[in-house]
Homo-oligomer: 366 residues x 2
DNA sequence: GGGCTTCCCGGTAACGGTTCCGGGAACCCT
DNA sequence: AGGGTTCCCGGAACCGTTACCGGGAAGCCC
């Protein structure tokens, strides 16, 4: 049998499928993609046979394989991802919703996640929600319509009802990063245990003699903000010393860091130690400290969360509550892959935090 | 006429299309997506009419529109992006190849680009090439097979032949970021004019009395590295003063920054001023400066490229050759959109750099 | 030599849309 | 009344794959 290519009457004529694999010398590189149909015609076999060869189906003779592969090679055929996705019902892509990629913490997470996903043949769709819960929900819905196989979520809010409902309507698996969602949503999670790091930091400050400590942190609609406040409260409650505390939750931004720091530090009896609950908050805090001429590690002690170049290289180096940020992304991706290809059930993975003392913490001035 | 749904014999039976829009109480949210076919059946019209209504085709009566939209609403129908993409031949997605998202410069660029693309309905696929030209090419090919509509490229090497060939074989438009490619490739570009910023910095240092200046910079296979070295050479050549220069091109990494700085600064006659050509290089340089006990702005003058929190908040603040990083990404995205939807021709957009003097630069010690 | 496997292969119906074509009905004009 | 538009709609091809089904040919066994 010899199939003679193209069937006759087409109601739908767009580009004409002439000279398949010929690179026109003018528009270099604009070579039309070959389709499976063309491979089949060239090899003079059925299109289904081509598919079978390419997908490693057992019902293929050695001769058939050789014939098809040679045609594939000659046409430089590459399967169309789109058609495959449509047919197979999976896109091999995952969506990542995050507040702001320019935050180095997030960037590290993305770095880790992307590498793992890439290794498994998945690619990463990225959308910034600019810390707006409505955008969270919007992006989730958008990814859903894009038919991503799964999602990685670093949500602006853990409690926004629209976001939660949107997630519950989601088809594929979702993994939230450093957030906790209601069990019923069936999302996996990778979280840090923020308690130990924060507790060690507060203990350290109290041991140094601090009795008035301020915590500037992000939104309590997110796990880290809540756990950090709780941990500080717990330490203060169990220590025999009488320690005054100032809590300034708000948003995870330099603006809030600056505003809160200014408010805290301009009062009459200011704290002798400040904990900035994030790298953006640290920036705002440092601006105010400089502006007020307060010397870190002498006039005031300072602790920050999440290591960045600034914290290590600042003079003096800034004590930091650390966690493995790249690992966070990596684990998130692994959790997702586990559900995607391993058929695992949703689960929560907990990663540690530790406190790294540095010269920014000293005994309070007398 | 009344089409009675599903046609009889199917050779291909997967999930059975029963109870379209019914949320099962147990598996909440696992509602099957409705297809256009189902909408058409419910509205008792042809599938093509549904398509026409949804795509705003003029050949639609008011009554038809109302009927279809009501069915769409009842089934909560959403068109399948995949099927649309396959049929229309566009995916509304663009691929972004970059060295390393954890570099704040890159993160800012991505931030700017993503926002613009999102506004135009496009989404962003992201891949890190880890500064490996082979990965550049690999990712470009991968995106190509993913059928992205266009690409944003921040390449590890401007000269790698495999990469160039791969790009030349690319179908859609490409925009390179802060790189220059051979004209024939037909890529658009957004670049910084690194000359003015660097020239101003070097002039400033010479004016302050420096006669021995080192430049630690990234790969000369990338535009910024080349232009920065050229600019410094040009200034030194045209100034009457006799200025010695030390050039240490390498890679855009903390390791190179550290290695080069150590090498430069441990010699007998070390330079009195160092220019670090990037934020990663700055980090490496600062480590060495601290390690050798050299005080910035007193024992040695320091200039860096690209503003980061560290440069502004360091004590003393570090003079910086600045550029608008978020804008870089934004312009890149606009250039791409111009070609994607506006049908514009490839072109190159040039953005400025400026020098911001700060106390890290002072007269050399006597 | 007939019946039963086994091995392969071609045909074809999907996946879920878009768009071209043709044609019926209503309207207009002379 | 007949011919030409205009307005809408249904039918069908097609985008590029996948996977099921059926069947021909060859091999095996008794």
């Amino acid at each position: 049998m010899t199939r003679s290519g193209s069937n006759g009457g087409s109601a739908d004529h767009r580009r004409t499928p002439v000279d398949a694999a010929a690179t026109s010398p003018v528009t270099m590189g604009a070579r039309r993609r070959a389709s499976m149909r063309e491979v089949a015609d060239l090899a003079d076999v059925a299109i289904s046979s081509v598919s079978r060869v390419l997908s490693g189906h057992p019902d293929v003779s050695a001769q058939m394989r050789e014939r098809v592969l040679s045609a594939v090679h000659r046409l430089e055929y590459e399967p169309d991802f789109l058609a495959q996705s449509l047919r197979r019902g999976q896109t091999l892509s995952v969506g990542f919703v995050l507040a702001d990629i320019s935050n180095p913490l997030m960037a590290d997470i993305v770095l880790g996640a992307e590498a793992v996903l890439r290794g498994a043949g998945y690619s990463l769709l990225l959308m910034n929600s600019e810390n707006d819960p409505r955008m969270d929900a919007q992006h989730v819905r958008f990814f859903q319509s894009r038919r991503v196989d799964g999602m990685l979520l670093s949500l602006a809010s853990e409690t926004d009802p629209t976001t939660l409902e949107t997630i519950s309507l989601t088809e594929g698996p979702a993994v939230v990063i450093d957030r906790r969602l209601p069990e019923e949503l069936g999302a996996s999670a990778v979280v840090n245990d923020h308690g130990p790091g924060m507790e060690a930091a507060v203990e350290h400050l109290i041991d140094l003699g601090h009795r008035r400590i301020a915590l500037i942190t992000g939104s309590t609609a997110q796990l880290p903000g809540r756990e950090r406040m709780d941990a500080m409260r717990a330490v203060v409650a169990r220590r025999p010393e009488r320690v005054e505390t100032i809590y300034r939750p708000g948003s995870f931004s330099t603006e809030h860091g600056e505003g809160a720091a200014r408010e805290i530090l301009s009062g009459p009896d200011r704290p002798t130690a400040v904990i900035a609950g994030g790298n953006q908050l640290l920036i705002g805090t440092l601006k105010v400290l400089r502006e007020q001429g307060l010397r870190v590690g002498r006039d005031i002690s300072l602790v920050t969360c999440d290591e960045v170049p600034l914290s290590e290289l600042y003079e003096p180096p800034i004590a930091t509550i650390q966690r493995e940020t790249v690992g966070l992304g990596r684990v998130a991706a692994e959790l997702l892959l586990g559900r995607l290809v391993g058929g695992e059930a949703p689960r929560t993975e907990v990663l540690p935090t530790t406190f790294l003392p540095r010269p920014s913490c000293a005994s309070p001035p007398a």
